[in-house]
């Protein structure tokens, strides 16, 4: 089975123990067992285009659903409660990588950033407005503010993944870069949406957002002071994991967004002097894979199918597609080298951040709406992956 995600930014490289214990998947060894040979053959098939290249969500979310309370109950409700810190940790990890992906000053292109923000902003707007309109039209009873629910779904819809390795400077590389940068605005809007739930007034919404940035920056400074000056690899690993736990733990303790705190820390490491960004990227890459896989398994296990989830799911998929196409078209006006169709097709694959947003909202909204929103986003993300697989350019084109 080729999951095709070994080098994805969102899920990291190979599992660190896999990498130490077994050769890379492309290198057969005489000691291979029958099961490994079968798995390897499937990977080879995928490499030749004979088997589908699966997105990580398509593999691990159904596995989570199978192991979850609605399935085999191996990931029982109690186990899922214990996994809650891991979800915060994976959210912070994803936030850090979004921050690191912004790039250092010489490669910083404000035009691309604006194009990416327009694209994601339009998607948020299209999906949120459509949901506000539809939920009102359907007269759906809600125990939370409709605007907050619509914004959470809109933010979850706006994420795109960029996994193609393209020639630097090519239109594909530009499209992938836009998909990298379009996560920043949703993270900020998502943090504000989470802060808005249960907090009346603009000031009471802004303070938590500022506190989140403060937690991220403080952890960033602590990490920067320690990471580059570690005496050994082991100590460096401890400091990297510790700084990340501080980012995730501080924001989770204050019921804030680990994604935004992680983004702040990642941006600080990116723009601070020294090699902190490179070291964090390398060390966190080893740690990232298992925690993100656990996040996906948890998302799958938390799914609860309800009428509300079904009603939210369909508009989520349809209006996400509409938002991405419109947003891609608008963004292409700012990037003349890109045709709007090319850009939109690269932005259709949702990746994992949408699921991360929904999980973050669910952590603080243990209500029927929270679980319905999570289910709609997770299932909608899987469906959108299917759409992207059908529409997106193949490896040969990329």
């Amino acid at each position: 089975m080729n999951t095709g995600f070994d080098d994805s930014r969102e899920i990291g490289g190979r599992d660190p123990l896999d990498a130490r214990l077994t050769p890379p998947p492309s290198e057969p060894t005489p000691s291979d067992t029958w099961l490994r040979r079968v798995l390897r053959r499937l990977r080879m098939s995928a490499a030749f285009g004979l088997a589908p290249v699966l997105a990580p969500a398509l593999v691990f979310v159904p596995l989570g659903a199978l192991f979850g309370p609605q399935g085999l109950n191996l990931l029982s409700t109690r186990v899922l409660q214990h996994l809650d810190p891991v979800i915060s940790l994976s959210l912070a990890t994803l936030g850090v990588f979004v921050g690191l992906a912004l790039g250092r000053r010489p490669s910083w292109n404000p035009r691309l950033f604006v194009a990416a923000s327009i694209e994601s902003g339009v998607t948020i707007l299209v999906v949120s407005s459509a949901l506000v309109f539809l939920v009102r039209a359907w007269d759906m009873p809600l125990a939370m503010p409709l605007a907050a629910l619509a914004l959470i779904l809109g933010v979850s819809a706006s994420a795109s993944s960029a996994t193609h390795d393209a020639t630097p400077g090519s239109p594909d590389a530009l499209a992938a870069r836009i998909a990298d940068l379009d996560d920043v605005l949703p993270i900020v809007v998502g943090a504000l949406a989470i802060a808005a739930v249960g907090r009346p007034g603009l000031t009471s919404i802004l303070w938590p957002a500022i506190a989140t940035l403060g937690v991220g920056l403080a952890a960033g400074v602590i990490g920067w002071l320690l990471i580059e000056r570690a005496h050994s690899d082991a100590e460096r690993g401890i400091f990297v994991v510790g700084a990340l736990a501080l980012v995730a733990g501080g924001s989770a303790y204050l019921s804030l967004s680990p994604l935004l705190a992680g983004l702040a820390a990642g941006m600080f490491w990116n723009w601070s002097p020294g090699r902190c960004d490179t070291i964090v990227r390398e060390d966190l890459g080893k740690f990232q894979h298992p925690v993100v896989v656990l996040m996906l398994l948890s998302a799958g296990a938390l799914l609860e199918y309800s009428v509300m989830a079904l009603w939210l799911f369909a508009p989520f998929v349809v209006f996400r597609l509409a938002g991405k196409l419109t947003g891609g078209w608008l963004a292409s006006k700012l990037t003349p080298t890109l045709a709007s169709a090319d850009l939109s097709s690269h932005l259709l694959a949702p990746g994992l951040l949408g699921i991360a947003f929904a999980l973050n909202a669910y952590q603080y909204l243990h209500s029927a709406e929270g679980i319905a929103a999570l289910t709609a986003v997770v299932v909608g993300t899987l469906a959108s992956e299917g759409v992207a697989f059908a529409v997106a350019p193949g490896e040969a084109d990329a």
């Binding site: 123990l17 896999d18 214990l21 067992t33 186990v79 320690l226 700084a243 995730a248 019921s255 298992p290």
Partner: protein, 429 residues
């Protein structure tokens, strides 16, 4: 200087976040991050003054814990303890991976001789001391005859016990490898296995002597058999499954290992298995029946487990009951001194009888690796405390104070011995 700045900023950040007040159910990760960085810095400071890092982790936990500075509050310390189950399973699994039968075989007979003599001597001496001093001990000073004998035997069993957790943690921390570390680890594991059996027998005798169960009631013995044999079988089966997974699938090994440790600690607990024994058996099976390529798994797991070890010992430090030391400190010091003397005498006697096959230096330094006490002792103490409220609680206070003392002294002595045998830093070579 920069490390100091980082530490001050960390303390300031933790103080501000906790004083703002937040959701205690989400405090585990904050406590984990704070404890991980600060304890690692404390461990580094201790290493500079040639003391074990583990002592630094413990001291940091104690100072920042609820009893002193309260930077790690009581709810945070409780949340941190959630790591314990996973950490104990991981540590025991690593211990199992360290015990390679082929490497141990040449000195197995002498090791068993050394272990049995040492254990017998320690047990008899501590039993005699406890029996003689019983009227002055704050438990049930008025009892006499058979009751006094069985109570003294139970106390001796608790005081003799060792700590596989600290032993493997020190080995992993200083990256030691060699015959001395293997011998000490094997001794500690085998001795604790024997002590668990002796403890259960002692408990049964105490119950009979105190009239709490009728003579002939063997429920505790049945429970013991289930706990020991069941734990070993459960761990062995899971170890074999993990080895199969490693050999035939070999993907997402970190998650598979985490799942193994969770199953060993949580499912094992539900089935009344001892997680330490089960995880040890799992590690033994993986290492001796289906070892993965060389020491790759062992090295990778030991490296990956380091953050868990740091937090485990910081949490242990934060959970140390300092009031126990205050109330019963002098008695605990006296008992610790007697225990140390019995370990040395037992080691001397065992060394003479160990004979050919055991390096004299290794045999003579073995005692330095046997001083630590932690999880196993605490586990046995909790059983006594819960089954015999009153005098059992006073025994518990003494044992907790002893654990606190031995957790600090043990790693220092063991690291010193590892340095003398030249095994520090040999892991992965």
């Amino acid at each position: 200087m920069l490390r100091l700045a980082a530490l001050l900023l960390l303390l300031g950040t933790a103080y501000v976040i906790t004083s703002v007040g937040g959701n205690d159910t989400h405090s585990a990760l904050l406590a984990f991050g704070f404890a991980l960085i600060a304890a690692a810095l404390a461990g580094d400071l201790f290493e500079r003054i040639r003391l074990p890092r583990i002592t630094g982790y413990l001291l940091f936990g104690m100072i920042c814990g609820p009893d002193v500075l309260a930077l790690i509050s009581t709810p945070m310390a409780r949340e941190l303890r959630l790591v314990n189950g996973l950490a104990i399973a991981l540590i025991a699994f690593i211990a199992g991976l360290e015990l390679n039968y082929r490497r141990l075989r040449p000195r197995l007979a002498s090791l068993l001789r050394l272990g049995s003599v040492l254990l017998a001597v320690m047990y008899l001496l501590l039993f005699a001391a406890a029996w003689a001093a019983w009227p002055w001990l704050p438990f049930l000073p008025d009892v006499d005859g058979l009751t006094r004998v069985v109570l003294a035997a139970l106390l001796a069993t608790l005081v003799v016990s060792f700590s596989p957790t600290v032993t493997i943690a020190v080995i992993a921390d200083v990256r030691a490898r060699g015959p001395y570390s293997e011998t000490v680890l094997a001794l500690v594991v085998l001795a604790d296995l024997a002590l668990i059996v002796m403890f259960t027998l002692s408990m049964q005798f105490v119950r009979w002597a105190l009239g709490e169960v009728p003579a002939g009631d063997v429920s505790l013995l049945v429970r013991l058999s289930w706990e020991i044999a069941g734990s070993l079988a459960f761990g062995a089966v899971l170890g074999a499954l993990f080895a199969f997974y490693l050999q035939h699938v070999g993907r997402e090994v970190t998650l598979a290992l985490l799942a193994l440790c969770v199953v060993l600690s949580e499912v094992g607990r539900v089935l009344h298995f001892e997680p330490l024994l089960a995880a040890l058996a799992a590690g033994l099976v993986v290492e001796n029946i289906a070892p993965p390529r060389g020491d790759a798994l062992k090295d990778a797991v030991e490296r990956g487990a380091l953050p868990v070890l740091v937090v485990f010992f910081a949490a242990a430090g934060a959970s140390l009951h300092l009031e126990a030391l205050r109330t019963i400190g002098l008695l605990a010091l006296a008992v610790a001194a007697v225990r140390l003397v019995t370990i040395r005498i037992g080691n001397l006697a065992g060394t003479r009888l160990a004979g050919i096959g055991m390096d004299p230096q290794i045999a003579s330094l073995a005692w330095m690796g046997l001083v630590s006490q932690a999880g196993v002792t605490l586990g046995l103490t909790i059983i006594v405390r819960s089954e015999f409220p009153g005098w059992g609680e006073r025994v518990g206070t003494l044992m907790v104070a002893l654990i606190a003392l031995h957790e600090f002294i043990g790693p220092i002595l063991f690291k010193n011995a590892l340095a003398r045998t030249g095994e520090i830093g040999k892991m992965g070579e």
